[in-house]
């Protein structure tokens, strides 16, 4: 099985904190195995902000859930290597992995309202982490929970400790979830569409909070999103996923100014922009393939305006475009016009 070139952090940065090699995730279904992630490799440097862009079904969430160890097996099957600080997470005992979760790698989910337990107070859910993992007494844990709520800027934290999630707005619930994720000072925070369900003004507040916390703690941030705008505003480097694979990766300026893959170009062009108006929007024809119904060759070829014979037959691997650390998985890399 061919392995893609790894999408490495730019030179000059310290060694990778997280090094994912040929990660594959598949699920057993009544209709046979379905590949959700078909072999992705990437690295994350300490303190870095990495954006992962993709539409629903592209495998962006599943791939990161595998890093967190949230894929249940069976029906799921995870293969490849996930090196954290040089140690393969996939080979660790369940006990060791559990210690890693929260302490080293933590995750924030999209829909905070439903990710929190509706029958426990917010204070209980935050302080639980200290109680269970640090052996703090209840009072100590509650005191730390208040500190943490202050840090994520929940107003009058002490008073709201005994409130339930339904008494909080969507933005405040998201802050609570960020607080629980940060309780043990992880070195990596994975945020899966953290602002998708929020209004733009609250989205801006949450993104500002994440950046600020990142500056304070030096943690690395992996931001999973379908919103190109959000990625452009916070990430230094990004990967674009399509049908379970990375189709393009590079630093953020290169991706937006000189995208090489037809899918990335299509995505950027099809966004209605707040600074331009009118006329027909560019649109990519068709829809992303359903998992389990992958077309042969390049998964994007049925929707690609440039597809040639080779695209229908051979899977393109990530290859360097010539720019520093810019990779694209397209047979026609370098042969397409820069329109």
């Amino acid at each position: 099985m061919a392995t893609d070139i790894r999408t490495a952090a730019p030179k000059g940065q310290t060694e990778a904190l997280l090094d994912v090699r040929d990660l594959k995730v598949s699920f057993q279904t009544p209709h046979g195995p379905v590949n959700a992630v078909g072999g992705v490799s990437w690295t994350l440097a300490p303190g870095e902000t990495l954006g992962i862009i993709g539409e629903s079904g592209s495998g962006k969430s599943v791939g990161l859930e595998a890093v967190m160890g949230l894929i249940k097996s069976p029906p799921g099957h995870v293969s490849g290597e996930i090196l954290f600080d040089g140690h393969d997470i996939l080979k660790m005992s369940a006990r060791k992995r559990r210690a890693l979760r929260g302490d080293e790698i933590s995750m924030v989910f999209q829909d905070a309202m439903s990710a929190l337990n509706p029958s426990l107070t917010v204070g209980a859910q935050i302080s639980e982490v200290y109680h269970l993992r640090r052996g703090c007494s209840r009072d100590e844990a509650r005191r730390k929970a208040v500190e943490l709520m202050d840090r994520v800027k929940i107003p009058s934290a002490r008073m709201r400790l005994d409130a339930y999630p339904h008494e909080f707005s969507g933005g405040m619930c998201q802050r609570v979830m960020i607080a629980t994720a940060l309780a043990l000072d992880p070195r990596v925070l994975i945020a899966d569409e953290p602002t998708t369900a929020l209004d733009v003004t609250v989205q801006r507040q949450i993104m500002a909070l994440l950046s600020e916390l990142q500056r304070e703690t030096g943690m690395a941030l992996v931001l999973i999103t379908h919103d190109l705008g959000v990625v452009a505003e916070v990430a230094r480097r990004a990967m674009v996923m399509y049908a379970g694979r990375i189709v393009e990766s590079g630093d953020i300026e290169t991706l937006f100014d000189a995208a090489a893959h037809p899918y990335t170009r299509g995505l950027i062009r099809s966004m209605p922009r707040i600074d331009t108006r009118g006329g027909e929007l560019y649109s990519i024809g068709g829809t992303p393939p359903a998992a389990g119904q992958m077309p042969p060759g390049c998964a994007f070829h049925p929707r690609c305006p440039h597809a040639v014979e080779m695209c229908r037959a051979t899977l393109p691997l990530l290859q360097a475009t010539g720019k520093d650390a810019h990779l694209s998985a397209c047979h026609l890399t370098g042969k397409l016009d820069n329109d």
């Binding site: 801006r204 379908h226 209605p272």
Partner: protein
């Protein structure tokens, strides 16, 4: 525009009572969900309606459709006040104002075939299409929205989100409406599919002369598709005008905050000036006195805390701010016109 508006609202208000009215004692709380809303929608035109969740967008839509009775004010269709109509007379109007819903998964009956979904309205309005022509008309409608006429006998679960939204659009068009109320029609769709549906709505408007009342939280989408835009905050329209003018030179600080919060898919603009709003939308049960926006407004003066601002007009735009036109916001929106 000397002709009559197809749909018009005049000083429309909707209060919701909270809790049961008591025989004795205090009045129950009321929420002023819609206050003093005026608009005039002309054939072939689109009005975009934006604002954060809870601002009254959906309440306004429900009152305009007369799904809820307004507390006061008028809704006019072709100049006639429809609130004077009896429920029976109201029914004749329903075919003229149709709705496209946000969630294409829950707005189609899973047990109905596409044919039945599209033709169901003809059971109520049999004179629109004679029974002998119905099969052909379903095929025409499917073709019009970019689906295959052979899809008529399939069921909603066999379609993707974008395709389902097309079915919802075909259903709305089946009754040959004059106005379509689009309630977040593309926000549940993937970016690459969003552009297809936006283009479809724009094409149908041109071909059929439809008027759209377009509710969305995505300002880029509203900007792309609308002629006019109304910005709502706590039940009131705080700014209203031609979309180009409002986006190029917003005069209400809330509009400025909304516009500047939108993430821009261009990394070069990430360090631009952003007007970050503190806090969240206050509770509509106990709204702030004076200008409802003053607790979050960086420019608030004494008068803002004591007096509700009257609408101020400049040309075709209206802003409910004591200082409309006197404040300089050009730094926050410069990127919208320069790129």
């Amino acid at each position: 525009m000397t002709d009559t508006p197809i749909l018009e609202a005049r000083q429309l208000c909707k209060d919701y009572a909270l809790g049961k009215a008591r025989w004795f004692g205090a009045q129950p709380f009321t929420i002023k969900a819609v206050q003093d809303v005026d608009f005039a929608l002309y054939p072939g035109q689109t009005i975009g309606l934006v604002g954060e969740s809870g601002c009254g967008k959906s309440s306004l839509a429900r009152v305009v459709l007369r799904l809820n009775e307004p507390t006061s004010g008028e809704v006019r269709f072709k100049g006639e006040n429809i609130l004077a109509r009896s429920p029976r007379e109201m029914r004749d109007l329903r075919r003229d104002v149709q709705v496209i819903f946000q969630d294409p998964y829950s707005s189609l009956d899973p047990r109905f075939s596409v044919r039945r979904i599209i033709s169901e309205g003809w059971e109520v309005f049999p004179d629109i299409v004679p029974p002998a022509r119905r099969a052909a008309r379903v095929a025409e409608l499917l073709d019009l929205v970019g689906l295959n006429p052979s899809d008529a006998d399939r069921f909603p679960h066999q379609f993707s989100g974008g395709q389902r939204q097309r079915i919802g659009i075909a259903r709305a068009l089946a009754l040959e409406p004059k106005v379509i109320l689009c309630d977040e029609p593309v926000s549940a769709l993937d970016v690459s599919v969003q552009a297809q549906v936006i283009n479809l709505l724009a094409r149908l408007q041109k071909e059929l002369g439809l008027a759209y009342l377009f509710i969305a939280h995505d300002l880029s989408v509203v900007h792309h598709i609308s002629d006019r835009v109304m910005v709502m905050y706590l039940g009131r329209v705080v700014e209203d005008g031609p979309v180009d003018q409002v986006f190029a030179a917003p005069r209400h600080p809330y509009t400025v905050a909304l516009l500047s919060a939108v993430p821009v898919p261009d990394p070069k603009l990430r360090n631009r000036e952003v007007l970050v709003l503190e806090g969240e939308v206050p509770s509509p049960i106990n709204p702030p006195g004076g200008c409802p926006f003053h607790p979050r407004c960086a420019h608030a003066q004494d008068i803002c805390r004591s007096k509700v601002p009257e609408p101020r007009y400049t040309g075709e735009t209206m802003a409910r701010c004591h200082f409309a036109g006197e404040l300089d916001f050009s730094g926050y929106v410069r990127h919208l016109s320069e790129a």
